[in-house]
């Protein structure tokens, strides 16, 4: 249970923002706790970036309330929030180390601290040998790593990452995922906006999905996946599943390894199916509840919203 004496890093309540006739955000509420990696999901144009800009106080909401660190945004809070935008934003003609030191200084670091942290982050991200090079001379992936270092250099309490793995190869991506996990382990709050659902499943405990400015999914990732579960079982046994009254359909019944995906007829449960197999004397080698991939949930919800809108 969360400690109520510790202010919630990000809390939004009924946030609404319009641009002319377009409703970018419609009564969106969210709460992100300390040390949490929180997934902010949604199709393109859903309103994710608008929500991030409101959290950063770059733009103001038309209605609703947004609090960071338990109060309305204060100018000094900028020093405690690191932001990695989806679009890379660096000074292409300046040396890498100089850019990082400048970004650190803008977050309130002393020159000495900024220099020391620059060296540490360049070392950690494998960029120590390019410190003196101009940003434009780096590969796209290395520029992304510099951008990540610029976001994290001041050890912000809130880290907002918009597509952090953009342009990274698998090795660098794994390195950055480790960095994100390290942030959360150190108590930093991470708000992760990405379309890479595998990354969300491996990192996030809670997610919020926005579509057309409205919240369409919100909560524990485990609960969401359970809610969208298809009541399917991956099973390997000697049983004849077609004979079971609980089975609706079977996929891949004749794979060489004997595995099959069995879809149960509601309201039958997996336990009832397992009992039936045991009762028929079948030998059960493998029994696994199949969960719906987050990507499928995302596509299903986004499609439903699009259909609803038309």
């Amino acid at each position: 249970m969360a400690d109520s004496s510790v202010p919630v890093p990000i809390r939004g309540d009924g946030i609404t923002k319009r641009f002319g006739q377009t409703v970018a955000l419609d009564t969106v509420s969210l709460q992100v706790g300390g040390g949490e990696i929180f997934g902010l999901l949604g199709p393109n144009g859903a309103g994710k970036t608008t929500l991030i800009r409101i959290i950063l106080d770059i733009i103001k909401p038309d209605a609703g309330r947004l609090e960071v660190f338990g109060r309305t945004f204060q100018p000094a809070d900028r020093d405690r929030i690191g932001y990695l935008p989806e679009e890379r934003g660096l000074y292409p003609r300046q040396p890498v180390a100089a850019v990082l030191e400048y970004m650190g200084a803008l977050k309130g670091m002393s020159r000495a601290d900024a220099r020391a942290e620059t060296a540490r982050w360049l070392e950690r991200l494998g960029l120590a040998d390019v410190a003196a090079r101009k940003v434009e001379q780096l590969s796209k992936g290395n520029q992304q790593k510099v951008q990540i270092a610029a976001t994290l250099i001041a050890r912000p309490d809130i880290v907002i990452l918009d597509e952090p793995l953009s342009g990274l190869d698998p090795v660098s991506a794994r390195l950055v995922i480790g960095v994100i996990r390290g942030c959360a382990a150190a108590g930093q709050t991470v708000l992760l906006s990405t379309h890479q659902m595998g990354m969300v499943e491996s990192l996030c405990t809670r997610v919020l999905m926005i579509a057309r400015g409205r919240v369409v999914l919100d909560g524990e990732l485990r609960d969401i996946k359970r809610r969208f579960s298809s009541n399917a079982i991956r099973v390997q046994s000697t049983a004849d599943y077609r004979a079971c009254p609980h089975v609706e359909r079977i996929e891949d019944p004749s794979t060489p390894d004997g595995f099959a995906a069995v879809y149960l007829r509601a309201p039958a449960t997996g336990d009832e199916f397992l009992h039936w197999m045991v009762a028929t004397g079948a030998r059960v080698e493998h029994f696994e509840r199949l969960s719906t991939p987050l990507e499928e949930i995302f596509v299903r919800v986004a499609t439903e919203q699009a259909v609803e809108a038309t």
Partner: protein, 424 residues
Amino acid sequence: MNKALIIARWEFLATVTRRAYIFSVVAMPLLFGIIGAIPVLSTRSAASSAADMPMAIVDPAGLVDLELAGRLANERAQARPRAARPELVPARPDGLVKYGELAPALEALSVRRVAAVYELAPDYLASGTISVYTRSSGFFGQAFANQRQGQVIDAIRASLLQTQLSGDALARAYAPAARLERFTVDGAGHPSRDEDAGTLGPFAGSFIVLILLTMSIFFSAGFLQQGTVEDRQNRVMEILLSSVTAEQLLIGKLLGLGAAGLLQVGLYVVLVIVPGSTVLSFFQVPLGGVMVSLVYFALGYTLFACLMAGFGMIGRTQQETAQLSALWTLAAVSPMWFIMAITAAPNGLMARALSFFPLTSPVTMIIRLSVGSVPPMDLLISVVVLIVAIYFALIGAARIFRAATLMYGKRPNLPELIRWLRAA
């Protein structure tokens, strides 16, 4: 350190280390300096070497009295006002040599013992014919030749007049305006002596300051605009606004890029004006007026930099932004169209009206200060008007900064722009 100062330092260093900046600061004035210095130095060199040589007068009729001509030339030189523009080649009493025949005079010319030969025709009194013989001295030697020709003509005039006049009458006929005194009448009808009368110096000096300050306003504001467009194109703006307020960002850029512009003008002064001071020594720059002009430079730069920075966020490209900003440039330099009216009546209705309108105030006030004293109330009103205008320009530019961060690749229309400006 204050975040605005951190931004200022970064912007200053990023700008002054750019190749384009270094080229414009060092190469351009050097180029113009060399182009300007070569003809001046070569002319002075040619004139100086020729000035050491006398000129020959071939005077078969014996009309010219060289002793009298030399004495009168000396008197006129001593009566000349100190502040007057120096002559390229000062007249010398011993600058003329008389020859009885043309041939030896031409021989002296060919071996560079004389600079030129003036042959008076035998019927000179009736016809006025003088034949002039010189060596080729090129285009820039023309001014020198014309000036020395005046010495010959003065000598002939004095020699002819002495048969009709003498004493002071002769001296006045030789130099009718040897001591010219000028007075300026103020608004109350009180005349005061103009010590610099008859010279170009004071106004020219102030005019140079005017041009320099006007140039520096647009250099600096241009840097700021270029910087904001680049930040927007590089997508840096959104990151910066997650670390600092729009006001801090704008003020930091104003300070840093303003300093870069000032440095550029300062280096122009050092690289061009100081070495050229021997040529420009006769320009008298009124320091008091320059100091007040610097205040208008600072206010003018801040105002136009805010306006141009705001417009820098609206255009999609550098070119489009420059086109949009032409509006401000035209407004700022528009007092130049009325420069004759302003200088003729520096405290007149038009000059005062332009001084109290923020967009025309800086340049108008610098012009007014360059030609005379300005009433303290006018100074006060124009400064207040500019400070108020700067306040609103700063607020507007900061709002545009914040709002334009949302828009990449799309130029806002007028209703959107108004909505941004009215946004909290």
